[in-house]
């Protein structure tokens, strides 16, 4: 029996916050009342918030125990496809916590000129890495970056004098693409990718016209494949006066290898919490900067951070701009971490990171190709997509195999996405995993596939070593209990 790092250990139970504590306890070092009490109009006064009162040790144990029920990259291999769960360097946490950075006030940027310098330089770094001309750091996440780009497309066509209403979106796109486009009044037109998993220029030509704003293309796409026809596709779109949006979620595969401006991309977003190693925090904060070519620069959000003879400054006088996307400058503490990462890597090791990310993914693909059904057998990059087709005969599904991986101490890959592959299993190991860990993961996956043939019930019951077993999601959705 092959096994991964998964063991069973002592799991401590922990109540909900309000099931603990005693009125009158406190975990807060209350400052002195050094001024007289002031009166408040009774009509404005509310009841004290109904929060539990806890002591400092109560709070410390509560969150320590909760943290132990979690699995992070620091715990182990997290091959979640499309999410680029690479190691989050510790030094970047320290940089973001630098007192001068943490205490910078957004309405007093003149008192923290170094902050504007960091942000300006990061804009330049991201432009250099993608090949694009100008950057806005405001979007707080990838989806907001997409929205920013779509708003810019809408503004561009308004200025051109003719609003276009349709936008082309391939079936391999992230779900955020259609939702972002729809917010800007575009009607998503789905495109089918070809039998080889990439988009055929003829499919684009058939739908592209003067009513169509352009195309939203993820490249490398969500099957881990490079859209090899991208130049032909972008020519078709540009030929009809349209614009090309590139979803840069998968940039980790091609840093220093692909130039997005040369590909014909007009605007793209990056996920700094994927490619640039900033932690995902159990669901954010991320950062989704937008990079554009020169002709879209006037539409970027304000304020823009610019370099002047005296130093760095903010410019808001941009009549064509789509306006403001964020109350201030975006998720600056995340941006600082990405800045630290790029400086740590330099040009040489960013490219190396992409090469090794692809090597790791292709290695896993080749080792597992006899175990799982490969969805598209052609050269792939940073991730590979399998399915549970071979396990159907044993009534074992992708979900069952994913859950069994948990018992072995691995976070499962992304499952049931992309939608074009039924029962998809999408594995993205990233470059920060070493060979012996990959070998162990591969051996475990093979073992699970053998188990599927002989002891399917064991998989269907998995996981069994976690704090809770499979959860009743139907009950959660049917009778929602959203607060305690």
């Amino acid at each position: 029996m092959t096994s991964g790092p998964g063991m069973s250990g002592l799991i401590l139970e922990e109540a909900l916050l309000w099931e603990k504590g005693k009125k009158g306890r406190s975990a807060f070092s209350m400052p002195q009342q050094d001024v007289p009490e002031a009166d408040l109009d009774a009509s404005l006064l509310g009841a004290a918030p109904d929060f539990p009162d806890l002591g400092e040790v109560d709070v410390v144990r509560h969150y320590t125990r909760l943290s132990q029920w979690n699995f992070g990259i620091d715990t182990g291999l997290y091959p979640l496809g499309s999410c680029t769960m690479k190691y989050n360097p510790k030094i970047n946490e320290r940089l973001a916590a630098t007192p001068g950075i943490a205490s910078a006030h957004p309405l007093l940027p003149e008192l923290s000129p170094g902050m504007l310098r960091i942000l300006f330089e990061l804009q330049q770094f991201l432009a250099a890495i993608t090949g694009m001309d100008a950057v806005s750091l405001q979007p707080a996440a990838g989806a907001q970056g997409e929205l920013t780009a779509m708003l810019m497309f809408a503004a561009y066509f308004r200025e051109q004098g003719g609003q276009r209403r349709r936008i082309l979106i391939p079936d391999t796109a992230h779900g955020t693409n259609p939702a972002s486009a729809a917010l800007c009044g575009f009607k998503p037109v789905p495109l089918r990718s070809g039998p080889d998993g990439i988009l055929d220029p003829a499919t684009v030509a058939a739908e592209m016209d003067e009513q169509t704003a352009g195309i939203m293309l993820t490249n490398p796409n969500t099957l881990g494949l490079f859209e090899e026809n991208i130049r032909a596709i972008t020519d078709i779109v540009h030929g009809a006066g349209g614009l090309v949006y590139g979803d840069g979620a998968n940039l980790n595969a091609v840093m220093g290898i692909v130039d997005f401006k040369r590909c014909g991309v007009d605007a793209m977003h990056l996920n700094l919490h994927k490619t640039f190693s900033t932690p995902h925090g159990g669901g954010g904060p991320g950062a989704g900067p937008v990079c554009v070519v020169k002709r879209l620069e006037p539409f970027l959000p304000v304020p823009r951070i610019v370099k002047t003879a005296q130093g760095y400054d903010l410019h808001s006088d941009a009549p064509a701009s789509i306006g403001r996307m964020h109350a201030f400058f975006g998720n600056v503490s995340v941006l600082v971490r990405a800045y630290g990462y790029i400086l740590s890597m330099g040009p040489q090791f960013l490219k190396k990171a992409s090469q090794l990310a692809v090597l790791n993914a292709v290695y896993v693909r080749e080792q597992l190709r006899d175990t799982l059904e490969l969805a598209y057998d052609r050269p792939s990059l940073h991730e590979s997509v399998f399915s549970d087709k071979r396990q159907h005969a044993f009534k074992v599904s992708t979900l069952d195999m994913a859950k069994r991986l948990i018992d072995h101490g691995y976070h499962p890959p992304t499952v049931y996405f992309p939608l074009v592959v039924p029962g998809a299993i999408m594995i993205e190991p990233t470059e920060t995993e070493c060979k012996e860990d990959l070998d162990r993961f591969i051996a475990v996956f093979k073992e699970i596939a053998r188990e599927a043939e002989t002891d399917g019930e064991r998989l269907r019951q998995a996981p069994t070593r976690t704090k809770v077993r499979r959860l009743d999601e139907t009950r959660a959705a049917r009778t929602p209990c959203l607060i305690g």
Partner: protein, 444 residues
């Protein structure tokens, strides 16, 4: 490079296993005309120590760290953060986890967010809160889009002129392409929003107020709610300083339908305005139109309590272009941080600290008024207020700055008519001696 574990031998072995000789061959199928030419134009890599030095060299340019007191708010506030908040929210099991798609190995994040939702709903007097939105500004934009969905055919929203100017700008960015109409509601002489001339009910989907508003004035939400509802609209309220609800009536208890705002005050560093926390709450009857992720309680196969992401059919990955929002990643760790902070304070602590903020701000307000300042608006305030300062204050402010005191935020940058007007914010981080020193300088 320490983040890349591969030895040259291993690279060779792995390449051999996949039938390649060189790393470049992995990319052979990428067309020539898409290729990056040359090396990326970036500075050479820095060692850990050189990187730290680069940040240390920026030190003098990051000067606010050495300030003795910053009496500026305006949407980003200085509050004391207990060490346990930094330490617990910084645990790497929380920090380095992804969105909890595999609930069996993410119960820590899930329970913490469920607790965050609960504390948020209790604070705001609402029935349900989501797991967060990016920031206060986009939370307000999402709230208005939600109100427009609920109102179906109506296409107008009315927004108070006392909502943070940046929030109003973000609302415009989000709503304009949909062709929605945004009307700005004026203020009365108390600094509260004038609701006497609302648009007709067949057009108006929502009225948005901020309380305390940008000028620090506490809106009369008890009066506003019936007026807005009589006009056939939903009442959307927002905030930049959640501390206010440690002391004041909650928006929910006043009749608000959707409540949202910025939660940075709850244990999160200003960091030039981000990452912050968009808090978002509404009534249960509207939950299926609520944007953003939400955690719910359920049971596992053995009947044991557990938590999952739920009501996902509202979201982009399922409903695609018909989703309630395009939001995917939110501000998870910031929400968790706020929860740890709220748990550290407790109900009793939050009330006391909120009152202390109120008392200190009142002390400065009285001191400045006695020194020749005049109130911009006479409505009641919480920890922030706007005043017109006597002639010569600009120079006094510069002198105070040299002594490490940032005395208020000039408002003329927001509205040229507000010459000599300043927005002061006083939190628990400002001691009486600083306030006395400031007032003395103004009197000089």
């Amino acid at each position: 490079m320490r983040y890349l574990p591969h030895t040259p031998d291993e690279i060779e072995q792995m390449l051999a296993a996949v039938g390649k000789r060189q790393l470049d061959e992995l990319f052979a199928h990428i067309p020539e005309d898409c290729r990056y030419r040359g090396d990326i134009d970036l500075p050479d890599q820095l060692s850990e120590w050189d990187l730290l030095r680069r940040f240390q060299d920026l030190g003098p340019q990051l000067s606010l760290a050495s300030a003795r007191a910053v009496l500026v708010g305006g949407g980003s506030y200085y509050h004391f953060v207990p060490e346990i908040v930094r330490s617990l929210a910084g645990r790497s099991e929380f920090v380095t986890a992804y969105t909890p798609y595999q609930p069996e190995m993410a119960q820590g994040t899930l329970q913490a967010i469920f607790e965050y939702q609960t504390l948020t709903a209790r604070l705001l007097g609402m029935e349900v809160a989501n797991a967060s939105i990016y920031d206060g500004a986009s939370a307000l934009a999402e709230a208005l889009l939600m109100a427009l969905r609920l109102a179906r055919k109506k296409r107008t929203v009315a927004v108070s002129a006392a909502i943070h100017p940046h929030y109003r700008q973000v609302v415009r960015t989000y709503l304009e392409p949909g062709g929605f109409r945004i009307i700005e509601l004026p203020l009365d002489e108390t600094g509260r929003t004038d609701l006497t001339s609302l648009p007709p009910p067949d057009e108006l989907a929502a009225v948005a107020l901020q309380s305390p508003n940008f000028f620090g004035v506490i809106e009369d939400m008890v009066d506003a709610a019936p007026t807005v509802h009589d006009a056939g609209a939903l009442l959307v309220t927002c905030f930049t300083e959640p501390f206010a609800y440690g002391l004041l009536r909650s928006p929910g208890s006043c009749g608000a339908d959707i409540v949202c705002g910025e939660g940075q005050s709850f244990g999160i560093a200003p960091s030039l305005g981000g990452a912050g926390l968009g808090m978002f709450a509404c009534r249960m009857e509207h939950v299926r139109n609520m944007p953003g992720r939400v955690v719910g309680e359920t049971v596992d196969l053995d009947g044991k309590r557990g938590f999952v992401l739920t009501l996902s059919t509202r979201e982009q990955h399922i409903r695609r272009e018909k989703a309630t929002s395009n939001i995917c990643s939110n501000q998870g760790l910031c929400a968790l941080t706020a929860a740890v902070y709220m748990a550290s304070l407790g109900g009793t602590g939050l009330r006391r600290l909120a009152k202390l903020n109120y008392d200190k701000a009142a002390y400065l307000k009285n001191g400045l008024l006695a020194s020749g300042a005049r109130l911009l608006y006479r409505g009641p305030t919480f920890n922030e207020f706007a005043v017109r300062m006597p002639a010569g204050f600009k120079e006094q402010r510069r002198r105070l700055m040299e002594r490490g005191i940032v005395a208020g935020l000039p408002l003329d940058g927001f509205d040229p008519a507000l010459q000599d007007a300043y927005l002061f914010c006083v939190t628990e981080t400002v001691s009486r001696s600083i306030i006395d020193e400031l007032c003395k300088e103004v009197q000089s």
